[in-house]
Symmetry: C2
Subunit: 254 residues, 2 copies
Amino acid sequence: MDIEWDAINHVTKVDPAKPLPADLAILRETDLIMVGGSDDVTAENTQQAVTSIREAVPSIPIVQEPYDSSHVSSETIDAVDRVAVPAVFNGDRDHFVAKHLDFFTEICRKPKAVTGASLPVVGEVIATKGREAVREVASVIMAEGYVIQNLDSKAATLTGVERTLSVEEVAGAALATEMFYNFPIFYIEYSGTYGGTEDVTAAEPYLEETVLLYGGGIRSREQTEQILAAGADAIVVGDCFHDDPDRFVRTIPG
Amino acid sequence: MDIEWDAINHVTKVDPAKPLPADLAILRETDLIMVGGSDDVTAENTQQAVTSIREAVPSIPIVQEPYDSSHVSSETIDAVDRVAVPAVFNGDRDHFVAKHLDFFTEICRKPKAVTGASLPVVGEVIATKGREAVREVASVIMAEGYVIQNLDSKAATLTGVERTLSVEEVAGAALATEMFYNFPIFYIEYSGTYGGTEDVTAAEPYLEETVLLYGGGIRSREQTEQILAAGADAIVVGDCFHDDPDRFVRTIPG
């Protein structure tokens, strides 16, 4: 299904290596589900989590956000609506270009393994089918321009973030995302702590085509509404979905 | 003027720190002129070179390709049709993301200095005009996904290139340029040596929206035609424009 960003202001991030809450009906009021994580995540448990969620709430779009290309398989690609790949502005070279170069090289090299398509083995036909399969897989992938603003987070450690960006740099990263890299998403990530509205306010003026997401430490409807009022298209809630389902429900805007 | 890529197959790269050939009429048969370099290049000599070229061949589009943001001023932006900024796939972090983040942060911070516009100083109006000016400047800038394939070149040293890409990686970089970064240009740079057709042949199948440029060591019409036949949209000729104008003319396809 297509992702209608205009209708999305609450996103739930699900870690497929953690147990899902007993009652998945709490997802009914969220607008988009992102599935991804690092520790113990595999293509298999990603696919399982996606299957359970799809059964519980079939009309809500699901995006896989893989940390590693080993989390992506032809089955996960078929199971989700899109695959979102972060490019971390304040991360190391691996997390803005090198991993993506490897990932797309792998897609070009092994269209069959990635797509699961059985290609007819007839000279030019295989090359043409291969290219089409490659483009089809690649068209599922979308880039997210990321800024990670909590140095003590696991996300910062994993992506080689050594310093947070100033408010002015967040504005510059937003402008570059919209007008240079042309990524469809700009994501301000405070990962576990509430960062307030300052970065969102700085980024928002430069984003017209690009969707602005804020994630980090949201534990109440007031915080959700504060961030949305500052100009974010949507807020992302992760931790309390797994840890405190009652609180999770209270992050959903009215 | 808009750049009509369909009509462009021969590009001339001009170093504004080097003397221009006495007879600039030799540029009449090229389709696009890129102005840029590193040693001794300034915003002033860039503007001078652009002015001389514009006078000699007013109908040919001119693109500035700055190595450093100090080469860009409101005057150079006004003088050229577009500003092309390389993002080097096999370069260091600076040359794929960090310099661009700085550049766009600077544009957000100093719209007046960069645009030369005098902004009315009235509260919200200045903010709105500022944002418009920022977007106007940013819209002139276009990204080029670069692969630098000659380790002994100055370009490789300046951008921190430590290894060339394999043919498969060139294909992956092309696919990532077209479908992840959405850059309008993919540029294979052999800088001073002739690289042959292999990388162009590998990249071409994955580029539909993105323009494919090849530069490096072209000194004859046969080489130009070989690279174009392999699928490049255009070849780029630099050195011999300054060093050997007669030879330069012979690189123009028939």
